[in-house]
Symmetry: C2
């Protein structure tokens, strides 16, 4: 049980976390800060936060738990601005989709207090963003990756694990590097791919007409392309090496299939399609952080 | 109202059509043929068909409506085998995903009787196949593309349009070539892309581990990769030129994004991601042929 959550960033992720924490009875009050005052006010009106803070620093003041829910590129600057009131008793956590860069930013931003910071990535999210979509159920039954590093304090690690588990999540520990390699493959590159597909169709001479003819295959392969451009730009740049490696490996697989089609290699093509079918059929999502994946 | 539907191919598409036609009271009896006798028997037990036929020819005999629901590569051979009992009074229709090749196969297979044949592509389907999944609701509210050609008879065109509309579908007319270009962009290539993504992840050294970490983005971008490998092989080969053109254009868009990431072109990258976001957000599926797109 926490006395006060200092919420820095009142968007979909942060707002939903505050709502879930409150509903679970795990926090007495939430003090929130957002770059945009209108967002903070909306969070207050929605009951996501109890008190508006005029700065990140004021949101941290008096908090025993601080959640950073800002674009990953803002991590270092925010942590620097609060460093001098961070203590070894506080739990600091983020919810960013990349982890190596966040750990590096935390080291630079927090220096001696970096042990209080536990990097976290809840596998939840939606193609919409903003406080207006905040929802206490966003993290229900979702998978959460924690990527502690050698400076991480044991007490904070236990607290971080306990709080996600109390919200009904399944916690898994990984190194920041292993996290980034895995999520480049199954999340970051698929997002880039979905955006490239939409661009490819939409920019064709008859693209608009083609899109009116599209069905559920197009709907699902491109759903995530509606995600926040700024957030995803940050993710691609922060996890550049792994994302580019996945993209290039993917293109090789695609071009192998192109070759088989071009040369009428019917048998070999079917073999590859069957392998893909089997892999996909055997796969089941471990947990589900989003219940609204097909709302269009 | 038809006296008898001759159903050639008792799989998901054909079986669902027969069930829908019966439920709508548009046919008195269904005579079905499948290559595999156990499929035909199952269709009989499920009430999809009323009479088993030992051959395609026997399914056509006495029918005023014939539906071909076989892999597109089998179209010509099947039509040849029934040609001598096809008359100018019958309606023949298919449900294949490609149309130029089907029209060419129909011309060769039916010769003088090709005017009875109306090429149709209902934008429905699921990542499962087989008579066991046949469902009278599969075509509910779905879009159907008819691609008549200069030999098509007016009476059959009207009948084909009327029967789909009676099933609650929205009918649109296109040329076979325009159909194939459009569906290469919004259906065939996205399927190839989804298969290449699954293959890329599954064949990596840590691919199996990565897949256990995947969330709803991976789930949706890859859903269609679980589709029937043989059916999709046929589609890729039948619509080769358009599919390859889409694949190559897509790779150019992807590589443009790779370049921006590699060179830290943050502003330009965000512009492209925002264009993709806007195109995808503005898009709405016209009609919905599949209600079970997220069953994993």
């Amino acid at each position: 049980m926490f006395e006060q959550l200092g919420l820095i960033g009142c968007g979909l992720m942060g707002g939903s976390f505050a709502l879930a924490l409150k509903r679970a009875g795990l926090v007495k009050r939430v003090v929130g800060y957002s770059k945009s005052p209108s967002t903070t006010q909306k969070a207050l009106h929605m009951g996501v936060i109890d008190i508006e803070a005029p700065s990140a620093l004021m949101a941290v003041s008096g908090s025993d738990f601080v959640l950073l829910a800002v674009p990953v590129s803002a991590t270092e600057a925010v942590l620097k601005s609060i460093r001098h009131i961070v203590t070894a008793d506080m739990l600091l956590m983020d919810v960013g989709s990349t982890k190596s860069d966040v750990v590096a930013a935390a080291r630079r931003g927090l220096r001696d207090e970096v042990g209080s910071f536990i990097p976290a990535h809840p596998i939840a999210g939606r193609e919409v963003s903003g406080i207006g979509h905040a929802n206490a159920d966003l993290y229900n039954n979702c998978q959460v990756i924690l990527t502690p590093f050698e400076r991480s304090l044991t007490k904070q690690m236990r607290q971080a694990q306990a709080v996600w588990e109390a919200l009904g999540c399944k916690v898994q520990l990984m190194s920041p590097q292993a996290h980034d390699a895995a999520y480049a493959a199954v999340s970051h590159f698929p997002h880039l791919m979905a955006c490239a597909l939409v661009q490819n169709v939409a920019t064709q001479a008859k693209g608009k007409e083609y899109m009116t003819l599209a069905g559920s295959g197009f709907r699902d392969t491109t759903r995530i392309a509606a995600g926040d451009p700024q957030m995803w730009r940050d993710i691609f740049l922060a996890n550049k090496t792994e994302v580019l490696a996945q993209s290039r490996a993917f293109v090789q697989h695609l071009q192998q299939m192109e070759q088989l089609i071009e040369n009428d290699k019917s048998v070999e093509l079917e073999v590859l399609l069957r392998l893909a079918q089997q892999s996909r059929k055997q796969w089941r999502m471990k947990t589900n952080g989003s219940t609204e994946s097909t709302d269009v």
